[in-house]
């Protein structure tokens, strides 16, 4: 090792304002408890990929490139049945439609960033990340450290998902299904959902969305999930505005 005569300073890119570091740490801290559930979910999807007949290389490629559990699960039976590629693509688009809503929520916070960074941030922002971010920063107004907070959520989330998924790909059938590893993911979601259900309107939205998701579960392309989000949002809004006002608005256009 050469002897340094001058003190080594970190590269300029690594020197961040203190609030950025604090918000990065806060993001990591807020997201950490969910990582176990995220990893367990990745495990379920990893197992499903190899069990459906993908090779290890294909399954690894899929988890790295696609990074969308519900779309992957929807695509697997189609791939196994040799459906046309455009059918698999269209299915994934429809399954992912709720992410369009999420991107509309999250994107205005970061409109100032270069497009490559926006693309990457959007690409990696899943359900739980959006929920946790919106809980911390409900307003679009610029605030110091927003990006650091988002990255503090995104990077561990991505890592936990990939670790779980890769473990599932290599363990394959070694994990018995009756252990219910996916249930850990469900429990993690409940923990994020509880603080979001703070008022009557949100509670109503959650109840309507749950009921719709169950009753419309049989719809193709996981459209029940999208219908649940839309009906849930509408019900929450209806409660927020009050039924009377809502009725007036529609009867007197």
């Amino acid at each position: 090792m050469p002897v340094m005569t001058e003190p080594t300073l970190p590269p300029a890119a690594l020197v961040r304002p203190p609030e950025d570091q604090a918000l990065w740490r806060e993001g990591v801290r807020v997201g950490t408890p969910t990582l176990f559930g995220i990893g367990a979910w990745g495990l379920v999807v990893g197992i499903a990929m190899v069990k459906s007949g993908l090779t290890v290389a294909q399954a690894l490629g899929m988890t790295m490139l696609v990074f969308a559990g519900s779309a992957q699960l929807a695509a697997l039976p189609l791939i196994a049945a040799s459906a046309p590629i455009w059918v698999v693509f269209a299915t994934a688009l429809v399954v992912n439609l709720r992410f369009v809503i999420f991107s509309a929520l999250l994107a205005p916070h970061f409109a100032h960033l270069p497009w490559r960074q926006r693309l990457a941030l959007g690409y990696t922002a899943g359900d739980l990340t959006v929920a946790m971010f919106m809980q911390r920063f409900p307003s679009e107004e610029p605030a110091a450290g927003k990006l650091s907070f988002l990255k503090g959520l995104l990077i561990p989330n991505w890592t936990a998902w990939q670790v779980g998924s890769i473990a599932g790909i290599f363990l394959g059938s070694a994990v018995p299904a009756e252990w219910g590893p996916g249930f850990a993911g469900t429990l993690a979601i409940i923990c994020i959902l509880v603080p979001l259900t703070v008022n009557k309107a949100a509670l109503c939205g959650v109840v309507v969305a749950s009921a719709t998701a169950v009753l419309a579960f049989g719809l193709p392309y996981k459209l029940g999930l999208l219908a649940a989000v839309l009906l849930g949002m509408l019900s929450a809004m209806a409660v927020e505005e009050g039924w009377e006002k809502w009725g007036k608005r529609w009867s007197k256009p």
């Binding site: 696609v66 990074f67 992410f99 219910g180 429990l187 969305a209 989000v229």
Partner: protein, 117 residues
């Protein structure tokens, strides 16, 4: 298109499909990130969108908790996941610790599953 039903995708076709799925993720997740500044969302719709994350999370877990298999609602029989989830939610409301809650829920679920099977 007149192909044999038994035929499976070639390795290349599967890789093309995987690439297409990645594009599907990018199109949906990054949509407003890339073209959002060209679109003005009405205020009322914006207000409504605030409820989207909670509704989506509820819609993702509801089938796991309330359904067994593709269609059957299990309100009449013991539903291990629902019972464990309720217990874990109560635990979370009391302790506010997510990791403990998940472990607690998994232990209850596993305990019930072993005892009742």
């Amino acid at each position: 298109m007149g192909q044999a039903v038994e035929q499976t995708m070639s390795d290349l076709e599967i890789w093309i499909t995987i690439g297409a799925l990645g594009v599907a993720t990018a199109i949906t997740r990054s949509s407003f990130w890339l073209i959002g500044h060209h679109i003005t969302i009405p205020k009322r719709v914006q207000e409504m969108l605030r409820y989207a994350p909670a509704c989506a999370l509820a819609a993702i877990i509801a089938p796991d908790l309330l359904m067994e298999g593709p269609k059957v609602l299990q309100f009449d029989t013991v539903n291990l996941k629902l019972a464990s989830a309720v217990a874990a939610t109560v635990y979370y409301l009391l302790r506010r610790n997510m990791l403990e809650m998940i472990l607690f829920g998994m232990i209850v679920f596993t305990g019930l599953r072993i005892c009742l099977s």
